[in-house]
């Protein structure tokens, strides 16, 4: 406890907490300006988040957190290797479609393992989709931000077309639902009554733990991180940086694809709509927020995902009052902007802590 100013976890954590507090302050200010009579009740609802709805609310927080923890892992894992996978959205879409396709069409599978196969297919499909920007980055030095933005749009248009020719139900004007491959609930709905919870959240946590083990406890993870810090130094130390770059993208894509599967293999999920709009799949972009808030650390990402889920559900309960739920998105955006400035925050926190320690 002596050298707080040198403890990285404390500094990073308090920078995140500070960003979040300012975020809440900002949304309160917005409420004061736009909707003064409801500003206090709005703030308390926001702060109470998922707890507003009791066990149902908590169940829904975990349900919402599942896919965004996974997309957060996708973005965070790539960050560790120095790559910005803004293509999580595209990998999410591809994964979601593959899962639903397998769920609807592969009825020859035994019903017990149908959902497992569908998730596995989503996992692999997401990884393959990320392989393209990965290979381009490793061997042709193509900026992965641009190539994965492009892959997002190609994925969107491709999936919209594939839905139309494979799993579209023209009588209902929507995609068929993968009813046979829904994720199991294992009695969780008894604890969190009336909520949409399923096993998805626990799959996400398991994946986070696996990601943690890969990054922190294996040689491979060490090599990945080394490439992230300095590609050329890693190369000089005998690490095959090219292979690590595309592998890291693939693993990242697997997480994002799995997120799509987890999201869409549920009765409470949205059904596919054939609209050329990436924003109908916000989980990919939310993953960026989750990864940034969780400081790209898999365990941090679990908490960041729960936090974002928590305030999103809080936003849902804001509709009890004449308050727009978009205030939650505003708040998240402010928090992300502040976390971009975290360099500055961390320096300030170290400064304050040092002063404090000097006094003692």
């Amino acid at each position: 406890m002596k050298n707080l100013s040198k403890n990285k976890a404390v500094i990073n954590g308090s920078a995140s907490v500070l960003s979040i507090l300012i975020g809440f302050g900002f949304s309160f200010l917005v409420l004061l300006i736009s909707n003064a009579p409801y500003s206090f009740v709005g703030l308390t609802t926001l702060l109470l988040g998922g707890f507003n709805g009791g066990m149902q609310g908590i169940g829904n927080v975990l349900y919402t957190a599942g896919p965004i923890i996974l997309t957060g892992l996708a973005v965070g894992f790539a960050f560790k290797t120095g790559l910005f996978n803004i293509g999580a959205t595209g990998q999410f879409i591809i994964g979601a479609f593959t899962a639903v396709y397998v769920g609807v069409r592969w009825t020859f599978l035994p019903v017990e393992i149908h959902w497992v196969v569908a998730l596995l297919a989503a996992f692999i499909a997401g990884g393959l989709w990320a392989l393209i920007p990965g290979i381009l980055k490793a061997y042709r030095n193509v900026n992965e931000v641009i190539s994965s933005i492009i892959m997002n749009y190609i994925g969107l248009y491709l999936v919209n077309y594939m839905i139309k020719i494979t799993i579209f139900d023209p009588t209902k004007n929507q995609a068929l639902m993968p009813t046979r491959a829904y994720l199991p609930v294992y009695g969780l709905d008894k604890i969190f009554t009336n909520s949409s919870i399923n096993v998805g959240f626990f799959i996400a946590v398991l994946m986070a733990i696996i990601a943690y083990i890969i990054l922190e406890k294996t040689t491979f993870g060490y090599e990945l991180k080394a490439c992230g810090f300095n590609r050329f130094a890693a190369e000089y130390a005998g690490i095959n940086s090219k292979r690590n770059i595309w592998l890291s993208m693939v693993i990242s894509g697997c997480f994002a694809g799995l997120a799509g599967g987890v999201m869409y293999l549920a009765g409470s999920a949205r059904y596919f709509e054939i609209i050329d709009l990436l924003l109908q799949y916000p989980e990919g972009f939310t993953g960026i927020s989750v990864a940034l808030l969780g400081l790209s650390n898999p365990i941090g990402i679990i908490f960041a995902g729960i936090f974002i889920g928590y305030i999103k559900i809080g936003g849902f309960y804001l509709q009890w009052y004449p308050i727009m739920p978009e205030i939650v998105d505003l708040m998240v955006a402010v928090i992300i902007y502040l976390s971009a400035l975290s360099f500055f925050f961390r320096a300030k926190i170290v400064y304050v802590l040092r002063k404090f320690e000097a006094k003692k």
């Binding site: 641009i146 749009y153 919209n160 924003l279 998105d329 998240v332 955006a333 992300i336 902007y337 360099f343």
Partner: protein, 317 residues
């Protein structure tokens, strides 16, 4: 012939905003700041411009109204881009993260504000700005039909901006200094150029053009703005890279993207394409695929500004 006129006239609706926004991105990246927030700035520009049109519709002549609205969009675009400039230049923040935050904020802000002010996500407005035929020029055979009928003031402003950008970037002292800051800011600084100021200029120009581009995109294609610009900010980034950070190439890239996206909408009524019976997804994917291929073969010796994306560190001189 009528179909060709129709396709050309329609293509301009996509070419012009894509080109304007990509030119904006060019100024920012040439100064050394990657601006992934183009999408968000477009949304902000479109929001304020459209809201202005809604408020003042009918109080002044149409073409005057649209000019003032454009100025509103430009101003708000510049103001919004300052957040990106501050984060990435003063605070040396990660430019991609700051840009992402600005994109998220813009989308949420417009929807929230629209719901508070108008009571709905969509902001309706009257589009009274179409020019059916430009006097005199519209009477020229063929050329008149292509370029001076069913058009908007935007088309000509866009072309003027293209020429102006090219001139500013390559023929003025300012342009030379801006490019120096994007290629080698340490050398520029040593030569007495204020890197911070030049980068601010680059980002603010991108804010102005992206804000304008948002309005230019939305006005012709819809009568209600619902807080998004259909991913055209990201598309403009692709145009910028496809155009290899050069104004003339950006123009051709924008034409390519604009024509293919128009064709994707109307392929079924163009006789020789209708015969092929290709799904419209092919035309939608085509420009993206082409960009990816171009990137694959040019990235080894990329024309990208060398210092784009790196905060300027004086200690590295």
């Amino acid at each position: 012939m009528n179909i060709i006129y129709f396709v050309v006239q329609n293509s301009f609706l996509f070419i012009v905003p894509l080109m304007i926004v990509a030119l904006g991105g060019m100024f920012s990246e040439r100064s050394g700041v990657i601006n992934i927030a183009l999408e968000g700035i477009m949304i902000i520009g479109a929001f304020f411009g459209i809201f202005f049109i809604r408020l003042f519709s009918g109080t002044m002549p149409d073409q005057v109204l649209i000019i003032v609205a454009m100025l509103v969009s430009i101003t708000m675009g510049v103001i919004y881009s300052l957040f990106h400039a501050y984060a990435s230049i003063n605070m040396k923040a990660n430019q991609t993260i700051s840009g992402t935050a600005l994109n998220l904020f813009a989308a949420a802000f417009t929807i929230y504000t629209a719901k508070v002010l108008v009571g709905a996500k969509q902001i309706d407005f009257k589009n009274t700005f179409r020019i059916a035929k430009v006097p005199l020029l519209g009477d020229i055979p063929v050329i008149g039909d292509f370029f001076f009928k069913n058009t908007y003031l935007f088309t000509y402003i866009g072309l003027a901006l293209l020429l102006l950008s090219s001139y500013v970037l390559f023929k003025t002292r300012f342009g030379l200094r801006l490019r120096a800051c994007g290629e080698h800011p340490q050398a520029a600084d040593a030569a007495g150029i204020n890197v911070t100021r030049m980068r601010y200029a680059g980002v603010m120009i991108s804010g102005a053009l992206a804000g304008l581009g948002g309005l230019v995109l939305i006005v012709p294609i819809t009568t209600n703005f619902s807080g998004d610009v259909l991913g055209y900010g990201f598309l403009a980034l692709a145009v910028l890279i496809f155009g290899q950070w050069k104004p003339s190439n950006i123009f051709f890239a924008a034409v390519f993207f604009g024509v293919t996206s128009t064709i994707s909408n109307v392929a079924s009524i163009i006789p020789f394409l209708a015969v092929l019976k290709l799904p419209s997804a092919v035309y939608k994917i085509l420009p993206y695929l082409a960009t990816l291929v171009v990137l694959t073969f040019t990235s080894k010796k990329s024309a990208a500004p060398k210092a784009a994306g790196e905060p300027y560190d004086q200690g590295k001189r």
